[in-house]
């Protein structure tokens, strides 16, 4: 009986201390801003608008999380998402009639093309990192420059706007009252959670992140696992790009440049270990919600956007310091304990 209860407890959210802390933190942020700005922040309109903005950051952050779980990093997420969005936008504008009508088939084709491009971008990262053994930071820095450069070169730096209304309806519509992007995000989060918690690929990802050498010696095909994380990361980035394009009804080579910092802040705040081996999808989604609330709250309190940028950097550094201090204390405690015994 107690074993059953233990198993139940370990499968619920509260079993993870980091997630519990984050939930408390989320509530705290919610209360603070609701108190200080009840007329603007604590309104249904604001929550709806947040629900439209959260998904894109959350999906990009989940992409970063996947690469971080293996001890790597993917800096090319935003460049990939913009490139995918631009391709989709190009196809859409090419095949729409004068008055903005387009068949559903072409919308599907455009989305599929974007997703395919995302997979290709992820594949290039996978090739550089898993096959050629290039450090993930460097490889994705290079592909970030390349993908972004191709996007700028193809468009001359001008954004493609005026996408067909049917396409824009996806990103701005609601599904039983819930914003469609939010529904998509929940689906993607569930799927990724399923992969990393319930599949052998997920287990291998954690093992590689915990100890790459040991994973290599156990002949689990560590290169293939790492390749998969970057391919999935590319796929998720392209999905985020399509959602952004649909919500904005436009695609541009320099949308969301600040999202790289934001995504890494989210991932670290969400309790993912940047060295690899630990992290949860729930944590990442919660962290996105916290940061979006902070952003909206700052906005409601009329702080300027650069103050929010400083706050993001501050949160990143503070959370890292907090983690390091906590880790050191735990280690010295366990050393003391082993010395005593």
């Amino acid at each position: 009986m107690s074993e059953l209860r233990n198993r139940f407890a370990s499968s619920t959210l509260l079993s993870d201390r980091k997630v519990t802390q984050l939930m408390g933190f989320t509530l705290l942020v919610l209360l603070i801003f609701s108190y200080f700005s009840s007329d603007i922040f604590f309104t249904p309109e604001n929550f709806t608008s947040m629900a439209f903005q959260i998904p894109e950051v959350a999906i990009l952050s989940i992409a970063v999380m996947l690469s971080m779980l293996t001890g790597g990093i993917d800096l090319s997420i935003v460049a990939t998402s913009n490139l995918a969005a631009l391709l989709a936008a190009y196809i859409l504008t090419k095949h729409m009639s004068e008055d903005g009508e387009i068949t559903n088939l072409w919308i599907l084709m455009a989305c599929l093309a974007g997703i395919l491009l995302g997979l290709i971008c992820g594949g290039i990262n996978a090739l550089l990192i898993a096959v050629l053994n290039i450090t993930p930071i460097l490889a994705t820095l290079a592909t970030l420059t390349l993908f972004n450069g191709i996007a700028i070169g193809l468009t001359n730096g001008v954004s493609i706007s005026g996408l067909p209304e049917q396409f824009a309806r996806i990103g701005n519509g609601t599904f039983f009252g819930v914003p469609t992007p939010f529904v998509l995000m929940v689906l993607i989060a569930l799927l990724v959670a399923l992969i990393i918690n319930r599949s052998s690929l997920g287990l291998k990802i954690f093992l590689i992140g915990t100890n790459r050498k040991a994973a290599q010696y156990s002949v689990m095909g560590d290169k293939r696992v790492i390749a998969w994380t970057y391919v999935i990361s590319g796929l998720l980035s392209s999905l985020a790009g399509l959602i952004i394009a649909s919500r904005m009804s436009a695609a541009s080579p320099d949308f969301g440049n600040s999202y790289i910092l934001l995504a890494i802040v989210v991932v670290v705040l969400g309790g993912v270990n940047p060295m690899g081996g630990f992290g949860t999808v729930t944590g990442v989604v919660l962290a996105t919600i916290v940061l979006q609330m902070v952003a909206s709250g700052f906005n409601a309190l009329r702080f300027n956007q650069f103050f929010y940028l400083a706050a993001q950097g501050g949160v990143l550094v503070l959370v890292m310091i907090f983690n390091v201090v906590l880790e050191n204390r735990r280690r010295s405690k366990s050393i003391n304990k082993s010395l005593e015994s």
Partner: protein, 335 residues
């Protein structure tokens, strides 16, 4: 083949290709232009090189640079300091850059945060604080000495074709600084510690080198170089725009990496970095002469970077294989 040799070959081949297409490439004016656009980047690149050799990565340096440059100009104006003096703003910027480098040092050496994450965070903090607290408006009336310095030419004459050929006086101090950094890296205890640190943190500690001390010095020095680069950028542009430079980190990291510095740490040369910076500028400045639109500059840098790191990775794995084969051969002969 050494990385520097490959780069020199690449530069020569590229120059010949462009030169054959457009005769205006092989002029002194063009060479001096490339040099002029390389000064600031080279200073940044030297700081990045030191960080990369030590096994870290810094993405905050352009923000540190513009923070230092912009703030120095703001302080000059606010306290009505002597606008005729060139030394005051430069010293101010270096001091500010060093202080910001100190913040990086605290995060990295003090708390042991991974360098990419630490500098990503501090870059956000610095940029956010600069634009909210110090100022977010463009300053075009920078101190007179800084303004005049932008046209302080060492050599200036009119070529036969009638174009003005100018070599900026900065070529001397930048050369001196470059040689100095090279000497520091190769001849001082600090420099060798930087290489040791890049080779491995634990072995460095066992050697009796203070890891934290070395890291602190690295980020202070990188901060100082960025500060200097920032104020020179302001001077050469003849305006202080707080929104500038952000996003330029990729080009400079690309130049350092193309110059052969290993991002895993432990390897890198000043000469390679100089070549890397010149190569990137050569390509960026002359893409137009090849008939390629300038909007493809970034893609060109990206493609170069991808090719560069791929070549390095392939030669690295080949070297490893050879080493393994050699050591296996030794084992065989021992038996």
């Amino acid at each position: 083949m050494r990385n520097e040799t490959v780069l020199i070959l690449a530069i020569v081949i590229f120059s010949l290709v462009i030169g054959s297409k457009s005769p205006e490439f092989f002029t002194l004016a063009n060479l001096f232009d490339i040099l002029r656009s390389s000064f600031v980047q080279l200073l940044f690149a030297l700081g990045v090189l030191i960080v990369i050799i030590s096994g870290g990565i810094d993405v905050s340096f352009p923000i540190v640079g513009i923070f230092a440059g912009y703030t120095a100009v703001v302080i000059m104006q606010k306290f009505e300091l002597d606008g005729e003096s060139l030394l005051i703003p430069i010293v101010l910027a270096i001091v500010i850059g060093t202080l910001l480098g100190g913040v990086n040092a605290i995060a990295i050496a003090g708390f042991g945060i991974p360098t990419l994450i630490a500098t990503l965070g501090t870059a956000g903090i610095f940029r956010g604080l600069m634009l909210t607290l110090i100022g977010s408006s463009f300053i075009s009336d920078i101190p007179i000495a800084l303004d005049q310095f932008s046209t302080a030419d060492l050599v200036k004459f009119e070529s036969a074709a009638g174009t003005l050929v100018r070599l900026h006086v900065l070529v001397i101090p930048i050369t001196i600084i470059t040689i100095l950094i090279s000497l520091i890296l190769s001849r001082t205890l600090f420099g060798r510690s930087v290489y040791a640190l890049g080779g491995g943190v634990e072995p460095t500690r066992r050697l009796g080198i203070s890891v934290k001390g070395t890291q602190t010095k690295i980020y202070l020095l990188a901060g100082a170089l960025s500060g200097l680069a920032g104020i020179l950028y302001v001077s050469l542009q003849r305006k202080a725009n707080p929104y500038d430079l952000a996003g330029s980190e990729l080009d400079i990291i690309a130049a350092v990496v193309l110059g052969g510095a290993s991002i895993m740490g432990g390897y890198g040369t000043v000469f390679g970095t100089v070549l890397g910076v010149l190569f990137i500028n050569l390509i960026k400045n002359n893409l137009v002469l090849l008939g390629v639109s300038s909007s493809w500059q970034r893609a060109a840098v990206g493609a170069l970077l991808v090719i560069g790191i791929t070549l390095q990775a392939i030669s690295e794995s080949r070297r490893n294989k050879r080493r393994r084969a050699l050591s296996e051969g030794e084992v065989d002969s021992n038996e």
